[in-house]
């Protein structure tokens, strides 16, 4: 009886093992290690975790398809607690573990800490979604590579759009009190003034308030032709947008790229209709639709149409390709391979966009013409606008 049971179990095991290759040739052997630091629980966590999910699914798919020349990719995640000092200790931990590459999926502040420390340790690194302009220097940091929108191109695209559509509009800027909101709005106001725009109002939403009628009425009184809404506290900014519409202010609303958070559409409701914002992603691209479908299948609607998750996916694809081209394990060769990336087909930006790095450029986006502008339509983040 025991022999019979053993025979049955062995038969089933052999049958299962023999059918496994039908699902692909999975990667085996010594794993290629990649470190990723993220904010697990604090203010940056909502976009950190979206990227983490995307990276995990990408790695699962990638390894199932053979990994890097047959070696599996393994990502070591560390919580940076949204704290630059903690981040530095995590980078040292990655270095000790022997990672080939470090990916920053926390806030820009922790990304800057990574840039400094990983640069000292000569570990190639970068970010799929860190926006801070300071991350790009001239010449670029030797070991740092990224794919997100850059603040100045984001604003550049918005400025081009406003000139084209409204001529020389009077502009009101509405912001929240998050550090992101203050930094971005200061930069945008300065750049818009330099670009010849007339800023007629700068208003700030009281954090945690139940509505923003005071700010909406001040903007209406100022007679702005266009209202720019910037920041990272979506509930505060959604309250402004609702008040703006309630007071029947006809001025169109334009935001920054952080509005792609899924929560915005739910919180602003019908007031979000017509809201225009810059993005790194054009959902009308078939490649984006394919990745999006995989993410939604694995994680549900919370990952649907999330730009940062799509950026993380594409960044990992780029990093794995560079590690393969660099032969794996030699950080300097991987860095060189990353910098030598030329005409890499990437699903970010407008259709047909490719990525080319060089010693003078470690950014995907190199001008406002590559920025996608999208509009909220029928309660959804719409496809890229054709306005140029």
């Amino acid at each position: 009886m025991k022999r019979a049971t053993f025979a049955v179990i062995s038969g089933v095991a052999v049958a299962l093992l023999s059918t496994y290759p039908m699902f692909g040739e999975p990667a085996t052997g010594k794993p290629v290690l990649i470190g990723a630091h993220l904010d697990e629980a604090k203010q940056a966590s909502y976009y950190s975790l979206l990227q983490k999910d995307s990276i995990n699914l990408f790695v699962k798919d990638f390894n199932a398809a053979g990994g890097i020349d047959g070696r599996p990719v393994q990502v070591l995640f560390e919580d940076d607690e949204n704290n630059p000092v903690t981040t530095v200790t995590k980078i040292d931990k990655f270095a000790s573990a022997g990672v080939d590459y470090i990916v920053s999926i926390g806030s820009s502040a922790t990304g800057l800490a990574t840039q400094a420390r990983a640069g000292e340790l000569k570990i190639p690194h970068g970010a799929p979604a860190n926006l801070a302009e300071q991350l790009t220097t001239d010449p670029p940091k030797r070991y740092y590579f990224r794919v997100p929108l850059r603040g100045k191109y984001e604003l550049g695209a918005v400025a081009q759009y406003m000139h084209k559509k409204y001529g020389a509009p009077k502009i009101a800027v509405v912001r929240d009190t998050t550090q992101t909101g203050l930094v971005i709005s200061d930069q945008w106001v300065k750049d818009l003034k330099n670009d010849g725009f007339n800023i007629v109002a700068l208003e700030q939403i009281t954090p945690g308030s139940t509505e923003a009628s005071s700010q909406a009425l001040r903007v209406k009184d100022a007679g702005a032709d266009v209202v720019i809404v910037v920041g990272a506290s979506i509930p505060d900014l959604a309250n402004y947008i609702k008040a703006h519409k309630l007071f029947e202010n006809p001025a169109p609303l334009i935001g920054n790229s952080l509005f792609t958070s899924g929560g915005f559409l739910k919180l602003a409701g019908t007031a979000a209709e017509g809201f225009v914002y810059p993005d790194a992603v054009d959902p009308s691209r078939p490649e984006i639709q394919e990745i999006d479908a995989k993410l939604v299948k694995a994680y549900g609607d919370q990952l649907k149409n999330q730009a940062v998750a799509l950026q993380a996916w594409e960044y990992m694809r780029l990093v794995c390709d560079a590690i393969r081209r660099g032969g794996g394990d030699d950080r300097e060769k991987i860095r060189d391979a990353m910098e030598a990336t030329k005409d890499f087909p990437i699903a970010l930006g407008p259709p047909g966009m490719t990525l080319t790095y060089s010693p003078a450029n470690h950014d995907l986006f190199t001008g406002p013409d590559q920025v996608v502008l999208r509009e909220v339509r029928n309660g959804e983040f719409g496809p890229g606008l054709h306005w140029r």
């Binding site: 697990e40 629980a41 604090k42 203010q43 966590s45 909502y46 975790l49 009190t177 700068l202 208003e203 700030q204 939403i205 009281t206 954090p207 945690g208 308030s209 139940t210 509505e211 009628s213 005071s214 700010q215 009425l217 001040r218 209406k220 979506i234 509930p235 959604a238 309250n239 309630l246 007071f247 958070s261 899924g262 929560g263 739910k266 919180l267 409701g269 919370q302």
Partner: protein, 293 residues
């Protein structure tokens, strides 16, 4: 400064001010009975909202989600008192240690909720829906605002009457005046402490259903209203529940008024500067204890 504009400022100021006032009241009932400043009040509010959203998302009827959220958060408040504060008090821990423990509770609840529930802010349907009543071209009031005004009056009246006409409420007041004397006349201070934490938690839990429909529910939702409620209590004074009411409403109207009539980038700073002047002139708050006058 038109009449319509002033009416809107008043309506909006009273709306957010009521939220601050109710949270101040939730601090008040604990602090007078125990001397403990419970940092976690904003978190009970957040937990109530998050539980409500979760229960609604699994298809439970609104009244069950409403009750479930409030009961769940209140039970958590009682548990924090029973399992953390009570043992510390029995071991005669210093005030600083108790405060530190409550600070820890606040962080664990806040970030624990974030880890379990997720970090995205979500809307919470209000008990009266999302209707808007236009009172003029530039004046409006939400149906939820009317719920807020009504609930504020009802809760304050309920707490005042409870403290005046019930044995437990009277025990709370007597303990506030003189804990030693209260014990001599048979008041069980442990029971009073538990009741105070439960009542404070209950009020904060109810506030979630007033506040969140006009803002959002997320793991950080309790942070700012929690701080503002605390400030409102100290501005209004701790002589009676009316201190919490006056402090909250004043803070709300000042905030909204400053944002309307001054550049809003300075509004919060100006509102707080005014509050500091008030505290300088009346260090015990606007409604000061009789002996301090």
């Amino acid at each position: 400064m038109t009449l319509a504009s002033m009416v809107q400022v008043l309506l909006s100021g009273l709306q957010i001010g009521s939220i601050y006032a109710l949270l101040a009241l939730s601090y008040y009932v604990i602090i007078i009975a125990t001397g403990i400043l419970n940092f976690a009040q904003g978190e009970w509010m957040m937990v109530s909202g998050v539980l409500g959203v979760t229960l609604l998302s699994v298809g439970l009827p609104y009244p069950i989600a409403f009750c479930g959220g409030i009961v769940g958060a209140t039970v958590l408040a009682i548990a924090a008192e029973r399992f953390i504060i009570a043992p510390l008090q029995q071991r005669q821990a210093s005030e600083a240690i108790t405060l530190l423990a409550l600070f820890g509770v606040m962080l664990v609840v806040r970030y624990g909720t974030g880890a379990i529930h997720g970090r995205l802010d979500e809307p919470l349907q209000g008990p009266a829906g999302n209707h808007v009543f236009r009172l003029g071209a530039n004046v409006f009031v939400f149906s939820q605002s009317l719920v807020i005004y009504g609930a504020t009056v009802a809760i304050f009246a309920g707490v005042v009457l409870w403290m005046r006409f019930t044995w437990l409420g009277s025990s709370l007041r007597i303990t506030a005046i003189d804990p030693l004397a209260a014990r001599l006349v048979g008041v069980n201070l442990n029971t009073v402490r538990t009741v105070a934490f439960a009542l404070g938690g209950l009020i904060a839990a109810i506030v979630a259903w007033l506040y969140a429909p006009l803002f959002a529910v997320g793991y950080l939702t309790g942070a700012i209203p929690g701080i503002k409620g605390f400030i409102a209590l100290f501005v209004g004074g701790m002589a009676s529940p009316f201190g919490a009411l006056v402090g909250g409403l004043l803070l709300g109207v000042l905030e909204v008024g400053a944002a309307r009539y001054l550049p809003s980038i300075y509004a919060e700073g100006i509102a707080f500067a005014l509050l500091m002047v008030i505290l300088f002139l009346r260090p015990n708050g606007l409604i000061a204890p009789r002996r301090a006058r």
